[in-house]
């Protein structure tokens, strides 16, 4: 652990990220955006409760809290998906652009240590974003509808999704010379994972539907690499939320598949966890798949950074 934290690349990256106004502006924007979503969600849920029951008393705060929690978490995930490529794409391409990669390559740092330093810096920074947003997520807990475990699971899922996307973007960054190109490619990759997989899933369903009534559902593997599906499965489903849930659609998509044997965890008020036929919850399968991809991508990136090489990279 000490060796990990004493990685000079990590120290340098953290200094570079936290120095100047950029980090402060980003954290302020992050909190303002997520706080704004929380406020809108709260007011929206309260209005819906009032319309339905004529008042927004204590009994309904449980339902309100769930909506507030889910929408805040969704805002965090959305922003994370937008922030990660911008933060991670310059990891190696930026070193190349500044012409600082060669001095780094002739030190005793191995390519893996360089990449690990970059990934850890992303973890620390994304972790900071999640930690500073915890009070916002905890509003749901204070309202009484969700547990601390829910808050931690949701925040953890967002953080891990962000981390795995960051690792993939850092790997992409080793293959291009310009930060601009790396950023475009990273956004394309993140878009492909978050939106492209849904499109592929939908396209499969449409094609399948056209075949006739004896259709089978699209394979769940199409959504395994989707961080939104991962977080949706961790968040689970509550039927008694006042607001329409941002994760509900995806969650039902996962659960409604024939391949899934839905189990109910946590009793009547607990989240349902979609299980695959082999018994592995969807979110674990998704986590394993994204982790394998990230590790493989970093492995290829490390090979690319390895010197002496055949050509200058």
């Amino acid at each position: 652990m000490t060796a990990l934290l004493s990685n000079p690349v990590l120290v340098r990256e953290m200094r570079s990220r936290m120095r100047g106004r950029r980090a402060a502006v980003l954290i302020t924007f992050w909190l303002a955006f997520n706080g704004g979503v929380l406020a809108v969600a709260y007011l929206g849920a309260e209005n819906i409760a009032e319309d339905r029951f004529g008042f927004a008393g204590f009994a309904n705060t449980v339902a309100i809290s769930r909506g507030v929690y889910e929408w805040t978490l969704f805002a965090m995930l959305l922003l994370m998906v937008l922030i990660v490529p911008a933060q991670a794409a310059g990891a190696i391409a930026g070193e190349r652009e500044r012409q600082t990669l060669i001095p780094l390559q002739v030190t005793l740092l191995t390519p893996w240590r360089i990449l690990l330093g970059k990934v850890l810096a992303s973890v620390v920074f994304l972790g900071l974003l999640v930690v500073v947003a915890m009070p916002l997520l905890a509003v749901g807990y204070l309202l009484g509808g969700i547990s601390i475990a829910d808050v931690l699971a949701g925040a953890g899922a967002v953080l891990v999704s962000g981390l795995l996307l960051a690792a993939l973007c850092i790997a992409v960054s080793t293959f291009v010379r310009r930060v601009q190109a790396a950023t475009v490619l990273s956004y394309a990759l993140v878009l492909a994972l978050t939106v492209g997989t849904f499109i592929a899933y939908g396209a499969y369903a449409v094609v399948d539907q056209a075949r006739g009534p004896d259709r089978t559902d699209p394979p769940d593997t199409l959504l395994l690499a989707n961080p939104v599906a991962l977080v949706s499965d961790v968040v689970g489903d509550f039927s008694n939320t006042e607001l329409p849930s941002p994760f509900d659609g995806v969650y039902r998509l996962i659960n409604d598949q024939q391949a899934f044997d839905v189990a109910v965890d946590g009793g009547a008020f607990g989240p349902e966890v979609a299980r695959r036929q082999d018994g592995m919850p969807f979110w674990i399968a998704s986590l394993v798949m994204l982790t394998l991809w990230a590790v493989a991508a970093l492995g290829i990136a490390a090979r690319r950074l390895d010197t002496p090489a055949e050509t200058e990279r």
Binding site: R15, S16, P103
Partner: protein, 298 residues
């Protein structure tokens, strides 16, 4: 009778044996044989595209030769790059500094990257900054430094692991005359400290002053290598001598080597010519370079 053993000759700091580097059809370095003696300042000279930077990159453990053997400080970079890097400092032809860091942080970062123990960072950085005359800039941001200062900072970075071998690719490019003189003095100082220095530069007069040995490259081929005087003798060409007299007239003579030069001087004195200047012209490194190369690039 006592047997006297001859002192063992130190193996060269760098040895290239039949080294070739190809990029597809392009031959960047063509079967070069080269030895850089330990403790020398070795100049690598050649026009743009001659293969200097490629040669440096192979020595600096960045590039793998297509064929041939590269040995640096007794190790082969292909097999044990780490061992070479631990004892080598490389300054590429680009500055490559982190503008957003403070000078002290920058050197600490590279000290950490070379595995210098944290307890030694303070002393290492202090002595390096003294050496490169940047002690007063220790807490300045790198982006506030002039180009010459950044160049010196890059040199300090290359020295952070106290290397035995320094590989400096165009370290004087972009420097003003004063900074060049300072750099030259600094390199002499480093040589006195026992370091082997391999350097390339476009300013040949500078290399002539500091290099004990040179190698001239063109189109990836090694045209000549060794001490400049030996190369000149190898070429077998005469020297041109310029004599200036008290009446203001100037005369040029072609002579063969040092002996011819001495004979000419003796003759002029015997003839009673009122000499006020007698000097060799056009046979420095630039002249050698111009005679050997045709300015051809790949």
């Amino acid at each position: 009778m006592t047997l006297q053993m001859a002192p063992p000759t130190a193996p060269p700091a760098v040895r290239l044996h039949s080294v070739t580097k190809r990029y597809g059809d392009l031959v960047a370095v063509d079967s070069i044989d080269l030895e850089v003696p330990r403790g020398s300042i070795f100049g690598l000279i050649g026009p743009n595209g001659a293969g200097k930077s490629t040669t440096f990159a192979m020595i600096a453990t960045l590039l793998r030769p297509t064929s041939g053997v590269v040995e640096v400080l007794g190790e082969r970079p292909n097999r044990n790059a780490g061992a070479v890097r631990a004892r080598m400092g490389y300054m590429p032809d680009v500055l490559g500094v982190y503008d957003d860091m403070v000078v002290d942080e920058y050197l600490r970062f590279f000290a950490g990257a070379f595995g210098v123990p944290a307890s030694a960072h303070e002393d290492t950085i202090e002595s390096l900054l003294e050496l490169v005359d940047l002690a007063g800039k220790r807490h300045s941001e790198v982006n506030s430094l002039s180009r010459g200062m950044k160049q010196r900072l890059s040199l300090a970075r290359a020295l952070v692991n106290d290397p035995d071998l320094l590989v400096l690719d165009e370290p004087a490019s972009g420097l003003d005359p004063r900074a060049r003189v300072e750099l030259r003095l600094l390199l002499s100082q480093l040589q006195d400290m026992g370091k082997t220095i391999i350097i390339s530069s476009h300013i040949l007069a500078e290399l002539a002053e500091m290099c004990s040995e040179i190698a001239i490259l063109e189109r990836g081929r090694l045209l000549a290598s060794g001490p400049p005087t030996a190369i000149r003798d190898q070429l077998g060409s005469g020297r041109q001598i310029e004599a200036r007299y008290a009446d203001g007239t100037v005369e040029r003579f072609d002579v063969d080597g040092t002996v011819g030069q001495q004979a000419l001087l003796r003759r002029l004195v015997q003839e009673g010519r009122e000499l006020i200047e007698f000097r060799e012209v056009g046979s420095g490194l630039e002249d050698l370079f111009m005679r050997l190369t045709q300015g051809e690039v790949q």
